[in-house]
């Protein structure tokens, strides 16, 4: 066994994954893991992301290769050649006839005889062929036609592939897609089994992350509660970096819990305290946790306040609606991709476009009383905008010309500066900051009742800016 050592220059790294990890053909998965771990201590992902990626790929490739050939140990010797460049092991002569049979069956499937192909591939599997591609082919055939097998679901074949071939590769990615699109899958017995399979620590952490994200979507906090203990045992005192990361995921999921589930948020806070020695290394994560804590506190406070108002006087119920929409959005959109909360966001943006004044008031109140929640809303808008259709920015000279029109005609609407700015920005598709910048850059003549102090006010008016962004987002998010 060679002691792994690699130069800093990636170009000098060997292409052969075995050589890269400093192991010989015939090495055990344990050897591979040991050398891989030593190397990634040298090439840490935060400092050498590309080096880390190469090591990870080499490690996965070697593990796949070892597992593949271990199944044919009775028929053939350990391979003498490196795995193929695509990461798939070359097929040993003993396995070749089976693979050929699988290929022929797949051709039948492509010709339209899916039922025949499914049965044939299933037989191959029953006869002991556990190759990943057979399970994946069965998965796809069953996905396209659930009627092919009354006893199985497509994900059964994914688990089969993961079980037989290791927790990585296409099967893992397909399973991730399944869980993302169907969160209920994360609570199935299959997923429980996935968590027990032998896999590198980062992969286990990732699978927990999928499950906890799914739990958040489906309000299954009991699952997080149960997992937390198991994960604690797995990671705490060992891979604490991943443990901290998982705690952050759990915090994102549970920050908005109420009733008995609120204990979970507190428990997570205690777990975070237990790894506080990592704060020098991952200070930003701890800051992030504190920030979320602050948002969460304010969020509950705001929620209670508006509920109380609504209960005390039904006349105000209508006025409370924007606040409730606003708070609901924060809860569903915090650290989530756009598609799941698009409907809630669009509902809110539509409400904003109809009644700007009410929303200005709502944002003003939140800015003053609940600044962290207000800040979270700004980030959510920005995040959604980044994921939406992009609209070309207005050329500088057009911004200056339109701003000049606004400044010159200001005496027409000085009674309501803020509403006028929102309307102007909506009609011109210009951001209030761009307006101010045009003046700051000396591109606009100043001949107006608009006082310089008002300009400062526009520059610092976050609620107005957010409304303008919301108005634009309404069309970009379409």
């Amino acid at each position: 066994m060679n002691e792994p050592s690699l130069p800093d220059d990636l170009a000098l790294w060997p292409e052969d994954p075995y050589e890269l990890l400093g192991i010989e053909r015939g090495a055990t998965p344990k050897d591979a893991k040991r050398n891989y771990t030593r190397l990634i201590r040298v090439f840490k992902p935060e400092h050498h992301p590309e080096h880390f990626r190469r090591l990870r790929e080499a490690y996965e490739s070697v593990v796949r290769s070892i597992e593949f050939f271990s199944r044919f140990a009775d028929h053939a010797e350990v391979p003498t050649e490196a795995p193929a460049s695509d990461g798939h092991p070359e097929i040993s002569p003993a396995a070749a006839p089976r693979i050929d049979e699988a290929s022929l069956l797949w051709e039948r499937a492509c010709e339209g005889s899916e039922d025949e192909a499914y049965r044939g591939l299933q037989n191959l599997h029953l006869r002991g062929d556990r190759s990943s591609s057979i399970s994946l082919r069965l998965y796809w055939l069953l996905t396209l036609d659930l009627g092919l097998d009354a006893e199985r679901e497509p994900c059964d074949w994914l688990l089969e592939a993961l079980r037989s071939y290791g927790v990585h590769g296409s099967a893992l990615e397909l399973y991730r897609r399944e869980v993302e699109a169907n969160p209920a899958e994360a609570f199935h017995a299959r997923f429980d089994e996935l968590l027990t399979l032998d896999a590198p620590s980062p992969v286990i952490a990732e699978t927990y992350e999928w499950r906890w994200t799914a739990a958040r979507k489906m309000d299954r906090f009991d699952v997080i509660r149960a997992d937390l203990e198991v994960a604690h045992r797995k990671f705490f005192g060992g891979d604490e970096t991943h443990w901290l990361r998982l705690l952050m995921v759990a915090a994102d999921a549970t920050a908005w819990t109420t009733g008995s589930d609120r204990d979970l948020w507190i428990a997570i806070g205690k777990e975070v305290e237990q790894v506080s020695h990592l704060s020098t290394r991952y200070g930003d994560w701890f800051d992030q946790f504190e920030h979320l804590n602050q948002i969460s506190k304010e969020w509950f406070s705001a929620k209670g306040h508006w509920r109380q108002i609504s209960l005390e006087n039904s006349r105000y119920k209508k006025n409370v609606v924007p606040h409730e929409l606003f708070l609901d959005l924060i809860k569903v959109a915090w650290h989530a991709p756009l598609p799941p909360y698009r409907a809630v966001l669009m509902k809110m943006l539509a409400a904003i476009s109809i009644n700007t004044n009410v929303w200005l008031q709502c944002l003003d109140e939140h800015r003053q009383k609940y600044p962290a929640v207000f800040g979270a809303f700004a980030l959510i808008l920005q995040y959604a905008a980044a994921q939406s259709e992009t609209v070309p920015e207005a050329p500088a000279e057009q911004v200056a010309r339109r701003t000049a029109d606004f400044v010159a005609g200001f005496d027409q609407f000085k009674a309501n500066l803020r509403e006028s700015v929102v309307q102007f920005c909506q009609e011109s598709w210009i951001d209030p900051l761009e307006m101010v910048q045009a003046v700051v850059d000396n591109r606009v003549d100043w001949r107006s009742d608009l006082s310089p102090e008002m300009l400062v006010q526009i520059d610092d008016d976050w609620p107005v800016r957010m409304l303008c962004q919301a108005n634009r987002l309404f069309w970009q998010c379409d």
Partner: protein, 356 residues
């Protein structure tokens, strides 16, 4: 919208799968399976979506692997339908346009932006294309611009409006006259684009009622240029005081009635002409004189304040305890475990300190 789903949706699906549009579901499925190995059994999402859209039994569309893509494709298709209707808006006869509008309105649910666009388009249902004809010169230009602008979606509409308003910055009074002519002769047309008419009215009012400035043109905030510009200001101020003294003399001997300045077509309000102190501005000027303060100074101060604020705060929120704006966001950290992490992750945004 059954027609759409059976025709254009199929075309879209075939395009996603790179198969001929005439392919049946079985043929498309064969092609899909055939290519699976090339992609290591991880087909791109649009392959799954395409296949699900071609599935006549609509079973695949419900499978988690395809459902999100199918929903998005259907939404995009509706959007394209509304856009196509808007693009052909004036080519329809009013009756035909109305029925098409009604069909789209009935088909679209839970899509607020599309519904809002259609609601806007309802304002022009009674207007026929020939109502934009028969004008000349600037009025014809204005009518054609309104015709072009009205059906557009707001982002495109705003861009085109900005462009047009840029082109027509000169001769505000002439443009206002054209707007008046259009409003008198074709009020329904004029009502389709109130925003542009308001700007033209505002420009003309500025030109005819208040041609002179009360404030100095904006001075640059860079210290090196401030010096020279400020010295220029003193020159303007000297001229201004002389002119003001002369005007004061004239007005003190004449009657108190003020004469509205005759509209003139030159120069555009953009030029940095020196002060021309006329009656409506005199009072304001005296106010400033009393305060012994020049308006440009106030603006300079404001601009400096803005620049200072911006250099201090990446993202600020109001802190009720201190009564000040405080920075909320921290400096950007890297995610050590996931260097390739989506930079648009909200937590990344939180970290990066970007401001909305």
């Amino acid at each position: 919208m059954p027609n759409l789903e059976t025709t254009r949706l199929r075309e879209q699906a075939a395009e996603m799968l790179s198969v001929p549009a005439s392919n049946s579901f079985a043929e498309a499925k064969s092609s899909f399976l055939d290519r699976l190995q090339q992609v290591d059994h991880q087909p791109p999402e649009n392959w799954c979506t395409g296949l699900a859209l071609l599935d006549d039994r609509n079973q695949l569309a419900k499978r988690p692997i395809a459902a999100p893509g199918v929903e998005r494709a259907r939404r995009q298709l509706l959007r394209r339908e509304v856009d196509a209707f808007a693009a052909d808006y004036w080519n329809y006869l009013p009756e035909e346009r109305k029925s098409r509008w009604q069909a789209l309105t009935d088909a679209i649910e839970n899509e607020p932006a599309l519904t809002t666009h259609l609601r806007h388009l309802a304002n022009g249902l009674e207007v026929s294309a020939d109502q934009f004809e028969g004008f000349q010169g600037k009025t014809a230009n204005l009518a054609m611009t309104i015709k072009e602008l009205f059906p557009m979606r707001p982002p495109q509409q705003a861009a085109r409006r900005r462009e047009w308003l840029m082109e027509t910055a000169d001769s505000p009074t002439l443009w206002m006259n054209s707007a008046i002519r259009l409003r008198e002769n074709a009020p329904k047309v004029a009502n389709l684009e109130p925003a542009i008419l308001n700007v033209l009215a505002g420009r003309a009012a500025q030109k005819t009622m208040r041609p002179p400035t009360r404030y100095q043109p904006v001075r640059p905030i860079h210290p090196t240029t401030v010096q020279s510009k400020t010295s220029n200001n003193w020159g303007y101020w000297a001229i201004a005081v002389v002119v003001f003294a002369m005007l004061k003399g004239i007005f003190s001997t004449s009657s108190s009635s003020t004469k509205t300045p005759t509209p003139s077509y030159t120069p555009p309000p953009y030029s940095s002409t020196p002060f021309r102190y006329e009656p409506p501005q005199r009072v304001d000027f005296q106010e400033f004189e009393k305060q012994n303060k020049r308006p440009s100074d106030a603006l300079q101060k404001a601009l400096k304040e803005i620049e200072e604020n911006r250099s201090k705060l990446l993202y600020s929120v109001y802190d009720p305890k201190t009564g000040k704006n405080v920075p909320l966001l921290k400096s950007p950290p890297a995610d050590p475990l996931n260097p390739k992490k989506d930079p648009q992750d909200p937590r990344s945004l939180f970290k990066s300190g970007a401001s909305p």
